[in-house]
Symmetry: C2
Subunit: 238 residues, 2 copies
DNA sequence: GTGACGCCATTGTGATCACAAATTTCCCGC
DNA sequence: GCGGGAAATTTGTGATCACAATGGCGTCAC
């Protein structure tokens, strides 16, 4: 599926700014991934409006592919279309936070369990490398790298389950609490975190399903507890 | 949010066919609901291609709002965009079916449990009315009404939980197995069904959370078992 | 100084046009 | 009769234009 001829009918040189040049995917798919990453890793603050034309200019495309990407993200719950037709990252509430926590604990340990049989030693080594990078980012206070690493750690496991339908549900959930991870880490810092990734890696090496599910569950509880404390304690929950 | 002026620039009378005249929602929202219902209640056979222009003509709008509605449904997993750019209802596989079953059992009993506290006697009466309608449809062999009733029964309960995030996940899941319900009932008929709705109603009246969760879980197991037997036993799974 | 009213820019929505890829159709050659 | 390739149609994708609604901003009255 090649990209269109990028004719750039206007007189300007037509240089896309932050979108990778081509890569053989459609414009709207590229915009979607770019936008998804921004949301997932805290690039968009909750409450601030996102405009189609603004994003289109940012990414060097027409508003059209942006519309489709935004529509997808709205369907995933990552963005919200307000009554005034403003598009924003929806605010977090105690109720919504609780639902997200429940869904994560209901789905992610199962996904990890299903992945275990398909994980080779090489896979586990790669996952441990990701965890090492997370540790370095944590020590260095690099919030962005920490969040990217944490996402990679979890999904490197989940992807091996070969359960795309469940994976899509979990991705949708991550998109909904992603923006608030950034807010939490920004407020408190990453140095105080102690995740349960080591336990998960040990359980994977030991091929122990119960321990792996417990480690993932504990990691979710710890991480979400941290976010919940930081975000929901505010007077104006935003 | 009013609809646009519907100028109908072509010479034809411009009569929308199956879309309700206005109702104060955007065209793309109307198309979305129409299309969602078709998918949910078996109006679109898996594997058959859905074209943007074709649907637009059917619904009396331009291809534009159809694009957005289709994009939303693709994001929800209800439709699939193949490599050849064809849009279809994705086929069912044993693996995907198993994931859907797991997700339903993980989320729906919880949703029912959370709804219980908010259910008034009047709500339960209304739900029982829906179940009566289901029984009539079942006796009469009216597959369409049965499916609509079954959907209404479950979501009349789930909606009262006030858990929109979880509800959206469950809606996405229903969209994915809906088309195959029709296939199953079409092959075997609705008369042999015996759901667990009565037990669920009794548990709601008794305010018994555990029984309600058990009834919903049993209903899911029975219904999905029926669909699985009918759909996955085919030589060509489609 | 302060409030309200009106004007203008911005924004999402929908329609139409253009284009390339894919599919179908049709015709010719064997 | 039957396969194969070229032409024509169909289809998704992207861009541009038009429009109504919303928000922002300045101005004027008091």
């Amino acid at each position: 599926m090649k990209r269109q001829s990028s004719s750039a009918p206007t007189g300007d040189p037509g240089v896309p700014i932050s979108l990778p040049p081509d890569l053989g995917l459609t414009a709207h798919e590229g915009v979607f991934r770019q936008l998804r990453d921004r949301i997932l890793f805290g690039g968009i603050r909750p409450g601030t409006a996102v405009t189609l034309r603004g994003l289109a200019e940012d990414l060097g495309v027409s508003p059209m592919p942006v519309r489709e990407a935004v529509r997808r993200l709205i369907a995933a719950g990552a963005l919200e279309l307000q009554d005034n037709r403003r598009v924003v990252v929806p605010p977090m509430s105690r109720e919504r936070f609780d639902e997200i926590l429940f869904a994560r604990r209901a789905l992610e340990p199962e996904l990890a369990a299903r992945a275990l049989a398909h994980l080779t030693a090489a896979h586990i080594d790669a996952i441990e490398d990701i965890d090492d990078a997370i540790d370095r980012a944590m020590k260095g206070g690099d919030t962005e790298s920490y969040m990217r690493g944490n996402f990679q750690f979890h999904f490197a496991i989940y992807e091996r389950a070969g359960a795309d339908t469940l994976l899509a549900l979990v991705e949708s959930i991550w998109l909904q609490f992603g923006p608030f991870m950034r807010m939490a880490y920004g407020r408190i810092g990453t140095s105080v975190l102690e995740d349960h990734h080591e336990f998960a890696i040990a359980a994977m090496r030991a091929r122990n399903v119960a321990d792996l599910k417990a480690a993932i569950d504990a990691d979710i509880g710890q991480g979400m507890g941290f976010i919940g404390d930081a975000v929901l304690s505010r007077k104006h929950p935003i």
